[in-house]
């Protein structure tokens, strides 16, 4: 009979090994599922994990990997700071939308002026939009002690409504024949977030994501603020004695996460998406929560987790198109990844022991 025994301290080894183990288990369980669907499991797994990186079209897909992973990493790094400090911002999707709207609005307001400063200004506006949206739960929490999980989540739905208003109303393309959606930034050089070079897959959002990973790493390892964030999460009382002001931390963590999510939204709307449209948001803000945990709330871990997540999306698409797998199977496959990760997490805090059945 198996028995769980709490470890005196969380295991360092398992904390690092569980993501790898979770991926391995996902591959096995996913393979069984694909086999049950009547597909060759080895081919399916190869299509998902191998082909986008080393297959025939890897030259195109590797770049797409960064396009998909960039916003996930950018948002997840911001979220991880809060999660470490025990501040639960679930509304990154809304901050992402509001950042995109704020940045796009600035760009569209000055259309068709050509000036080198327009794009940087849009990035700032995007960050500001996301930050402002995150300040709502932050201020409500610090002033009235509301629950930031609920408030930030509910604000996602408000943001979606604002997005619908923007694309059918105040940001609608005046030359769009009455159809919803803003002008497309791809035709507006000064505001366009194009690839750094043709076919690179790397646009300014990707660069920003990489820079953020480095900055967050330094913050957490070398800066007093990083120490305070970690301490507040692990021992809130001790943190208070050490002089950490919880309110300040709430405002800071939500603000940083909001600004990063807002920037991610701006990079997306001015780059790959190209325009504000009613369903412009495609769930990056929610997926980033998974990425943050998959990456162990560690900036470097998040970098890899973001890339892995992007791989399952792009590889999953290929498997769906080339092998005829239903898209629901791909989503289930992604779900398995999170499930196994959480399940394996048990090993970090508990030991599994064989125990003799006790007599009743």
């Amino acid at each position: 009979m198996l028995k769980l025994e709490r470890r005196p301290t969380p295991s360092q080894f398992w904390s690092r090994a569980t993501p790898v183990l979770a991926v391995a288990l996902t591959v096995v369980a996913g393979g069984i599922m694909f086999a049950l669907l009547g597909k060759n499991p080895f081919e399916a797994i190869r299509t998902i994990f191998w082909d986008p990186l080393f297959g025939e079209f890897a030259w195109y897909l590797r770049g797409q990997l960064m396009v998909k992973a960039g916003p996930l990493i950018l948002i997840a790094v911001g979220l991880s700071l809060g999660f470490r400090a025990g501040i639960w911002n679930i509304g990154a999707e809304g901050q992402y939308i509001m950042g995109a709207i704020a940045g796009a609005a600035l760009g569209l307001a000055v259309f068709p002026t050509e000036n080198r400063l327009i794009f940087p200004a849009m990035v700032m506006a995007g960050a500001l939009g996301g930050w402002a949206w995150a300040m709502i739960p932050a201020i409500l929490k610090t002033r009235f002690n509301t629950n930031e999980i609920l408030v930030s989540l509910m604000l996602v739905y408000v943001a979606q409504t604002v997005l619908a208003m923007a694309s059918t109303g105040f940001l609608r393309n005046p030359e769009g024949a009455g159809f919803p959606g803003s002008r497309n930034f791809s035709g507006y050089e000064a505001a366009r977030n194009g690839f750094l070079w043709e076919g690179a897959g790397l646009h300014w959002g990707g660069v920003m994501a990489l820079a953020t990973v480095v900055a967050a790493y330094v913050l957490l390892q070398r800066h007093i603020l990083g120490f305070q964030i970690k301490l507040s999460g692990q021992a809130p009382r001790a943190a208070r004695y050490a002089g950490v002001k919880p309110d300040r931390l709430v405002v800071l963590c939500l603000g940083v996460a909001g600004a990063l999510a807002g920037m991610a939204g701006l990079f997306e709307v001015s780059g790959p998406a190209g325009q504000i449209s009613i369903d412009f948001n495609s769930g990056y803000g929610f997926t980033a929560i998974i990425v943050a945990f998959l990456g162990r709330l560690n900036p470097v871990g998040i970098l890899f987790a973001g890339l892995l997540m992007a791989l399952t999306y792009i590889g999953g698409e290929m498997a769906a198109t080339n092998l005829g797998l239903p898209s629901a199977a791909i989503q289930a496959f992604q779900g398995m990844l999170l499930f196994f990760l959480l399940a394996c997490d048990l090993l970090t805090n508990f030991r599994i022991r064989l125990a003799k059945r006790e007599a009743h």
């Binding site: 025939e56 079209f57 030259w59 195109y60 897909l61 797409q64 396009v67 998909k68 979606q160 619908a164 208003m165 059918t168 109303g169 024949a177 009455g178 159809f179 919803p180 497309n184 791809s186 070079w197 043709e198 076919g199 997306e268 780059g271 790959p272 998406a273 190209g274 325009q275 449209s277 009613i278 369903d279 412009f280 495609s282 792009i314 698409e317 290929m318 769906a320 198109t321 080339n322 005829g324 239903p326 898209s327 629901a328």
Partner: protein
Amino acid sequence: MKRRTLLATAALGLSLAFGGAAHAQDKTKACFIYVGPIGDLGWSYQHHQGALAVQKEFGDKVELAWQESVPEGADAERVMTQMALGGCDIIFATSFGYMDQVNAVAKKFPNVKFEHATGFKRESPNVSTYNARFYEGRAVQGLIAGKMTKTNKIGYIGSFPIPEVVMGINAYYLQAKKVNPNVELSVVWAFTWFDPAKEADAAKAMIEQGVDVIAAHTDSTAPLAEAAKSGGKVIGFGQASDMADYKPSPRVSSIIDNWAPYYVKRVGQVMDGTWDQVDVWAGIKEGEVEIGEITDAIPAELKAEAEAMRDAIAAGTYHPFTGPIKKQDGSDWLAEGATAPDGDLLGMNFFVEGIKGDIPK
């Protein structure tokens, strides 16, 4: 040559090389990208039926590939690029929101044909657009709704406030109003094509307000499932697909999108090299819009009347938008006896007189 252009050329060269390789297999590859799951039993399902008809028609000479549930936006661009790289000869993009992506990808792959459903942008010669005159079916539904409602409240679940949908709402309301001057229409905007939970909520809200006939412009069967719970008081229509599971009531009739003839024709043209750029808008007459069986839940007299309207539209003797019609703000749109020009319909961004509420702006 600048480094940037050099790489672009290299990438294009590679893609052409792969495109060529696919041709060498002597099989035509037809690819489809869907906005919802093919199991939605509505819009995407019906497009997939068209794809399967292509397979049935050409058998071994054609190879199919498809991708379901592709969000409108950056993801669609990647999926279509992958398809073009993967040797697709013709790509059917079956949702309005793929418009900019279709045109962006089409520019990079001049040898691949692109067909965009319900769109209007054809920026390069390898992009065609096709659409169906769904408003013709909506008129028939409006007639049934106006006569069948007992509460004089009818409902319409709108997806997105685009001309396509607004046109359907207007056609539905005009006919209902014609046969029942007391009728009131409520419109709920779902802002989604496929989200069964949201669609059910919209239907529920309308039923609570006393609406007893519901039409939907979204892709799932959820509104009918909601109507089925009313114990026969609320009726509705199959949308995009027949949704025959809900016969004879609440589903009393349906609009069936029959894409098969168009898909078979266009893939055939790719095979014999006669494909050219078109902008097609076919309706009941061409068989692209079908009125699904009107069930016995409808009185025989009304059924005959609805079928007569269907036949008159098919024969071209009746146009659902025939004047006099005023806009919601009271201004004139169509004079007595005038019919709506296609251009007006395709850019329709106003409600007709009598509809309450605003189109989201």
